[in-house]
């Protein structure tokens, strides 16, 4: 950009500042438009992929394959993450609760935290790191090697064939993985409580169970449905929008993990708010 020059031949300080502001405004405007466009594209993409389940053809074989990859493939990391999170919760909470003479309620604290919050969120973030990245890199590689175009040229809708099975596999598997994480989290808490804090196991489990209510379990099981949808739709969207060769595949993978993890935390907050408002708990 050329700045206007005064008759004296010197560039006006005022003009430099004014054109600098204009340029900044231009950049902000372009970024905002790009953001709105991406949100619009993502909304249409994920809506179409979701509604494809209700119109044939539905690729059930691909759904089963993806369920195996997402569900069975993630079970080890979910068990480990759940067990040690439950353990560390018991470890940290017992010390604080003991100061108030309430060490006996460790079981309640661990089970509530795991079932309502940590189980779904931790599982979501772990599965996002493993599967959103793999979806983005797999579909991204297919885009840059023209395999997606080849699929379209062969008369097959990539959205139906690749995205819809991943979304539904991710939703259903995350639901079960969250239950596994909750169970192992409570077990991890029990292990610490019994073997390290030398408390009674029966007391721990009865506390963990006694104060649990249906809304708590409902809250913990509704969240993974949203998180599963976020993981697969963001992962697939990033992959399908890949440009710029192998470097672009790397960028898409990072974007998929970052965006899905952040969205999971944001949606967790919103769902928690709604559930607390609905059940006053």
């Amino acid at each position: 950009m050329r700045y206007p020059v005064h008759e004296s031949g010197r560039t006006s300080q005022f003009c430099v500042s004014w054109f600098g502001k204009l340029r900044a405004m231009d950049t902000i405007e372009r970024t905002a438009k790009q953001l709105v466009l991406t949100v619009q594209e993502y909304s249409l993409f994920s809506f179409r992929a979701f509604t494809n389940l209700y119109r044939p053809p539905v690729y059930w074989a691909d759904f089963l394959i993806q369920s195996d990859i997402i569900g069975v493939g993630s079970i080890a990391i979910v068990i480990l993450a759940g067990f040690f999170t439950g353990g560390v919760l018991a470890l940290q909470s017992a010390a604080t609760l003991a100061q108030f003479g309430a060490a006996a309620v460790t079981g309640r604290f661990v089970s509530m935290s795991m079932i309502r919050e940590l189980g779904p969120v931790l599982t979501g973030i772990m599965v996002s790191g493993r599967n959103a990245s793999s979806m983005a890199s797999e579909l991204g590689s297919m885009v840059v090697t023209e395999q997606i175009d080849a699929m379209r040229a062969l008369g097959v809708d990539p959205l139906r064939k690749l995205v819809t099975p991943r979304i539904f596999a991710s939703i259903s598997m995350l639901f079960f993985l969250t239950i596994v994480a909750d169970a192992f989290g409570i077990l991890g808490g029990a292990a610490v409580t019994v073997f390290m804090n030398h408390q009674n196991a029966t007391q721990y489990f009865s506390m963990a169970y006694e104060y649990l209510r249906a809304p708590d379990i409902l809250q913990g099981l509704v969240k993974p449905l949203f998180f599963g949808y976020i993981i697969a739709s963001v992962g697939c969207f990033s992959g399908m929008k890949t440009t710029g060769g192998t470097e672009g595949v790397g960028r898409s993978t990072i974007q998929a993990v970052v965006n899905s993890s952040v969205l999971i935390i944001v949606v967790d907050f919103l769902v928690s708010q709604v559930m607390i408002a609905l059940f006053s708990r």
């Binding site: 053809p57 023209e146 080849a150 097959v156």
Partner: protein, 279 residues
């Protein structure tokens, strides 16, 4: 697919009045910048092979993707089998695309599937019985001379073999139009000749109309001066001075069609770019 069909040694030129299989009408497209293609108009008639020549990066592959509805034009209309695809919804394009075969520049084989599953991709989606799939895949692979690769994965094939598998995949559904995107690009001369021989074989045995994009003039001339002899099972030269009347040329430069006609018109063209390209 039957490779024992006999080719006519003296092919008949397509009728001027025949309904075109593919027609571009004043098509233009741009990607956030100046036009990549501008005011493109041409036709592909039944039985016709059109060779689109032009230097690299001039928009040849974009034109081919437009022909199959993989990209939509900004202006103009594209008629595929008489239907305007430029405004058609993606869902409505899929059935039309099953009647076209496309060979991508690098083959674009699905790397997680075997050669058998790649070639049979369309048939598998249509839930054709496995026995029939195997038979048709073997037939298609025999056509391209790669029966032994049935169980291989694309990663274990050479570049030329991958292109041949891509041709087999494009042919298995007996398409009504074939689109070739630089099928010999980046290949050595011997492998290029093998690929061109397959394209000539397809042209002379099945007579499927096709649009072939290339920047290699030698490939175009080989296609023009040869025919496939089914009895000898190889490509043979046409007699001196004779050319295939079904094979005609288009030339693209700076986003515009600067030539559309036969080889005789091409060599007599006074356009400076055409002369330079042919030199």
């Amino acid at each position: 697919m039957n490779t024992t069909l006999h080719s006519d040694p003296a092919p008949v030129a397509p009728q001027p009045s025949a309904e075109p299989v593919l027609e571009f009408r004043n098509v233009s497209i741009a990607f956030s910048g100046p036009h990549v293609l501008q005011d493109i108009s041409f036709r592909v008639k039944p039985g016709e092979t059109r060779i689109l020549l032009g230097p690299a990066g001039v928009g040849k592959s974009v034109l081919l993707k437009l022909a199959n509805g993989l990209i939509r034009p900004d202006e103009g209309s594209i008629l595929l089998f008489g239907q305007d695809i430029s405004r058609l919804r993606e869902e409505d394009l899929f059935p039309l695309r099953t009647n076209t075969g496309m060979v991508f520049q690098e083959g674009a084989l699905f790397d997680s599937l075997t050669v058998r599953d790649n070639v049979a991709y369309q048939l598998i989606q249509e839930e054709v019985p496995d026995d029939e799939i195997d038979a048709r895949v073997m037939e298609a692979l025999r056509f391209v001379g790669l029966e032994s690769t049935f169980e291989f994965f694309p990663s274990s094939l050479s570049g030329g073999m991958r292109r041949r598998v891509a041709i087999a995949r494009a042919l298995i559904h007996r398409p009504d139009l074939l689109l070739y995107d630089s099928p010999t690009g980046g290949l050595d001369p011997v492998t290029s000749t093998t690929i061109i021989e397959l394209i000539v074989k397809q042209r002379d045995v099945y007579r499927t109309p096709s649009l072939l994009v290339t920047h290699r003039l030698q490939d175009a001339f080989v296609m023009l001066n040869h025919r496939y002899d089914d009895a000898e099972q190889r490509m043979v030269s046409l007699p001196d001075g004779e050319t295939n009347p079904n094979t005609t040329f288009l030339m693209l430069n700076e986003g515009r069609i600067i030539f559309d006609g036969s080889i005789h018109e091409l060599v007599r063209s006074q356009d400076p770019f055409v002369r330079e390209f042919l030199a």
